[in-house]
């Protein structure tokens, strides 16, 4: 956070006189803000709009919501208009702008957790804490502004909701599907949660009171504590496995317990790939990636080397961004890599920076991944301290440093241009393209942006050579793929397979098939933005071209298994609600379309899953306009899973 981006100063010239008259924030808020301001000299804070989100997060941690006086103080410091800052705060699901309980338990009721008993936990929470702060019964509304919040400017105790210290809300997938059902409480993850475990957790929260749970802040001293294999205490470590001769490539260190310190990483061949890249030179390193035919693993499957070449052609400064905002329901691969093999991600990123002549990097970790955040932050600090990042790293005549940022609960921020806006302190709304990120990305500079898995794949490519890597997999899908398997399977976990492995083999040989000898009814392949695959389609090899041929997608590589006891329309409704809640709201086809789509699925369910002609016509028209006219992938892909079910 110490480095100021070479950014325009949007705050200049804004009249903040009204804000000057606001009362000062409360002491706890002031302390929280000091933490954020500390590293930036007072005179250079004006215009550092990129500090807005970290400041909001600090306030959220300090008292459970962002108050008017505290937000006004942030605005004065950064020169951001109040309405703008509020618009940002009210965008993110993990930030609250109304007084309420000090702690919130976010219970995942997304597909995998739904299949593994989230409803029992919800019932327990309801019994214990009353109705959720938001959830399906509100049509998923997060609550339009009431009037309570301004009267008591400082809120605590002023509104009925503030009386309880713990509240709860339903959450979209937390990326812990291998440990479903899961919940997130502050910066603690609760996995494989039982009603008893939940009760214990609630009691801890209630006892801890103000300000933090026993684990403390990820930014503070707790960040120094050694990482357990599972991240949070009491959470089982990930189950993982692999298939095929070439594997494990990406999971090599994960499978043997992880390498979370630099020494552990170096002892296991760490930073040899960067060394190799430097021998080859920027052009040579890029050529290896080209030979490897590496396609982006975030969902869009764009050739990585083309991004590199495009950015290298643009004038500097150039940036590299690691997209660790993994939020696709059913997907947890990036989380496991960040938690257990963070240096591999960092090394891949450093190689990308070297090849493209980039000088700075950002890692944007989704807000719901406290352990991944702690792990990658520690790795960055250690790498910097030991000369693997920073000025003239490893004696090179080039410098590269990395900053770690956190999201605050918004699936759409995984869209690359929305992610840039989020880092810049704007609402996480996707931008129009062109211009493309390679031309004008983060802070308007040419930017290479890659998913975590893509960057981690760069390391074995440099080590073993692009030609070797490119020979793995199928004609149009080279290399190996991480697959997150969850839902109704015996062994949910993270598996690495060469492209071309039949989906059925992954499900049966690695994940043990459906439990209790039940029959698989369908597999949600590629996440909420993917499609349902049905039993006769499960012999399809996992590859971009083969799945495309049957109207599916590799997407994020998530396989959520639904056995014969699942109600597919119930799953469909959860997916529709997901998109409705995650749409940024910028464009009409998605903002209104995702809402209508959810209503439509509810109507279909009222008819017992029968899709009559009228509903079919509505669905087809809706799907068409969302696909054709939405600004970004969220709206464009939102009808996919439902379409595969309606077709059925």
């Amino acid at each position: 956070m110490s480095q100021g981006p070479v950014a325009p100063a949007p705050g200049r010239g804004v009249d903040l006189s009204r804000l000057e008259r606001m009362p000062d924030p409360e002491p706890d808020e002031a302390v929280a803000l000091q933490e954020v301001w500390r590293e930036v000299a007072p005179e250079s804070r004006r215009g550092r709009r990129d500090l807005l989100l970290p400041a909001l997060q600090a306030l959220q941690r300090a008292r459970g919501w962002v108050s008017y006086p505290a937000l006004a103080a942030v605005c004065r410091e950064l020169g951001v208009p109040l309405a703008d800052a509020y618009g940002v705060a009210a965008f993110y699901a993990l930030l609250r702008t109304e007084p309420g309980p000090r702690h919130i338990v976010h219970l995942c009721d997304d597909v995998a957790c739904m299949r593994r008993g989230a409803d029992r936990l919800a019932a327990r929470l309801r019994e214990r804490l009353g109705p959720p702060l938001h959830g399906p019964e509100h049509g998923g509304l997060r609550g339009l502004p009431g009037s309570a919040r301004l009267s008591g400017a400082h809120g605590d105790g002023a509104s009925p909701g503030a009386a309880a210290s713990v509240g709860w809300a339903f959450s979209p997938c937390l990326g812990q599907c291998d440990r479903a059902p899961a919940a997130l409480a502050g910066d603690e993850v609760w996995g494989e949660l039982t009603p008893e475990g939940l009760e214990a957790g609630l009691r801890d929260l209630e006892a801890a009171g103000h300000p933090e749970g026993a684990r403390g802040e990820p930014d503070g001293a707790a960040a120094e504590a050694p990482l357990l294999a599972g991240g949070s205490p009491g959470v089982p470590g990930p189950r993982a496995g692999c298939m095929g001769e070439a594997t494990p490539l990406l999971l090599e260190r994960v499978l043997s317990g992880g390498a979370t310190t630099l020494d552990a990483y170096l002892a296991r061949g760490g930073y040899q790939a960067l060394r190799r890249a430097r021998e080859l030179g920027p052009g040579g390193a890029m050529a290896e990636v080209e030979r490897a035919r590496l396609l982006g693993r975030g969902g869009a499957a764009f050739p990585s080397s083309r991004k590199w070449a495009a950015v290298a052609r643009e004038p500097g400064p150039r940036y590299v961004v690691c997209n660790a905002d993994e939020s696709e329901p059913g997907t947890f691969k990036d989380r496991v890599l960040l938690e257990l093999d963070p240096f591999a991600v960092l090394e891949g990123m450093t190689i990308a920076a070297f090849a493209t002549g980039a000088e700075r990097g950002w890692i944007y970790v989704r807000g719901e991944y406290p352990d991944a955040y702690r792990s990658i932050r520690r790795a960055v600090e250690e790498a910097r301290a030991r000369g693997y990042l920073g000025h003239h790293l490893l004696g090179a005549d080039w410098s590269f440093d990395v900053e770690v940022r956190r999201g605050a609960g918004a699936y759409v921020c995984g869209e690359e241009t929305a992610l840039f806006n989020s880092i810049e302190g704007l609402r996480g709304e996707p931008r129009a393209r062109p211009p493309f990120p390679t031309q004008r990305g983060l802070f308007g500079r040419p930017t290479v942006i890659h998913n975590v898995e893509t960057l981690a794949s760069v390391v074995p490519i440099l080590l073993r050579g692009g030609k070797w890597y490119g020979a793995l997999g199928t004609a149009r899908s080279a290399g190996t793929k991480l697959v997150s398997v969850s839902g109704d399977v015996a062994v949910p976990g993270l598996y690495e397979v060469p492209f071309g492995t039949p989906i059925r083999a992954i499900l049966e040989e690695l994940a043990g098939g459906a439990p209790g000898g039940r029959r698989i009814q369908a597999v949600l392949c590629g996440g909420a933005a993917g499609t349902f695959l049905f039993p006769e389609e499960l012999d399809t090899p996992l590859a971009f071209e083969t799945l495309q041929a049957i109207g599916g997608t590799v997407g994020s590589g998530a396989l959520v298994v639904l056995d014969e006891t699942a109600d597919l329309w119930e799953v469909a409704e959860r997916i529709a609600r997901f998109f409705k809640e995650e749409s940024c709201g910028q464009c009409v086809p998605c903002r209104v379309g995702t809402r209508r789509q959810w209503e439509l699925v509810r109507a279909i369910r009222r008819q017992g899953g029968r899709v009559d002609g009228a509903l079919r016509a509505l669905f087809d028209d809706l799907a068409r306009v969302m696909r054709d006219s939405s600004i970004c992938g969220l709206g464009q892909l939102a009808p996919n899973a439902l379409a595969s079910l309606v077709r059925r």
Binding site: G87, R142, L618, V625
Partner: protein, 295 residues
């Protein structure tokens, strides 16, 4: 840049948009969020067209022309998309005071009623008009979230940044921050957001009250062009007059000085014409006394 639009060869300067190129050869493309004085917003998607080689449709108001581009504005795909966008707009907001949207709906054969059958779900609670000041009224139920007011209030015109989009998805809304009443926000009451609002979600208080009372009658209105008396800028004003009383003040969008934008004095400082200067200042809304004092 040479391109073809519906088969017509068109020459468009680099940096110009498909919309501009199409209009230059008389090909009509409907727009809703686009406003000629603002940067393209790209939110409504009414202006989508087909561009050869593109996977999705593209917004004509925003996409810049490229050499050799082949654009189609009159295909079944384009029409179906526009019709759906209009249906979605009308199904989600009260657009009865947005004549442009109404015209488009009948032209495209849009039937928003189709969506009503689904609305067993609790719709958003009707929010009703916000009457927190004497000069203009906000009616969120009419808002289509075109972002025009936000852009006009912000860096593109007024540089005041009093309002922004808050929330997200279907519950996104225009908000001065914490749902503050406007007089407690940074608003300077220039009314420029009102000037660009296409749906009367923002409307002058006089107009809103006359509509409420059934007194607003466009057939009895005429426009008088004059010059603002307050300062040396000399903005051109358009007075809308009904029964010999001023009922609202706007400015012509094609006036290079104002581009349709005014300050509080020109926009709202006219009640004295009717009140007479005898009226004690205490009896006037605060903004107006300010205007008087300045004048």
């Amino acid at each position: 840049m040479r391109l073809t639009i519906d088969g017509h060869p068109v020459e468009g300067p680099p940096g110009s948009t498909i919309l501009e190129a199409a209009r230059s050869v008389g090909v009509p493309i409907p727009t809703v969020c686009y406003h000629e004085t603002l940067e393209p917003i790209g939110a409504c998607r009414v202006c989508v067209v087909e561009v050869e080689g593109a996977r999705t449709l593209v917004p004509a108001c925003q996409r810049r022309v490229e050499e050799g581009m082949v654009v189609r504005t009159d295909t079944e795909r384009v029409r179906a998309n526009r019709r759906m966008v209009v249906e979605l707009l009308e199904s989600s907001a009260d657009t009865r005071l947005a004549p442009e949207i109404g015209r488009l709906a009948s032209e495209l054969g849009a039937d928003p009623g189709r969506w009503a059958s689904l609305q067993h779900e609790k719709p958003l609670p009707a929010r009703g008009p916000k009457l927190d000041n004497e000069l203009y009224v906000r009616e969120p139920d009419r808002c289509i979230l075109c972002y025009r007011c936000v852009k006009a209030c912000g860096e593109q015109v007024q540089n005041t940044f009093a309002i922004a989009v808050a929330g997200r998805g279907y519950e996104a809304r225009i908000d001065p921050g914490f749902d503050l009443p406007l007089p407690d926000s940074a608003c300077v009451f220039c009314g420029n957001c009102v000037a660009v609002c296409p749906t009367e979600a923002l409307t002058f208080r006089t107009q809103w009250e006359m509509r409420r009372d059934g007194a607003w009658d466009e057939s009895r209105q005429r426009t008088v062009t004059t010059v603002c008396p307050y300062c040396g800028v000399g903005c051109q004003l358009q007075l809308t007059v009904q029964d010999n009383r001023i009922v609202k003040v706007t400015a012509p969008v094609d006036d290079p000085t104002t581009r349709g934008y005014l300050c509080i004095k020109g926009r709202f400082g006219w009640q004295y014409v009717h009140a007479g200067l005898q009226t004690a200042p205490e009896a006037l809304p605060k903004a107006q006394t300010d205007a008087r004092r300045t004048a």
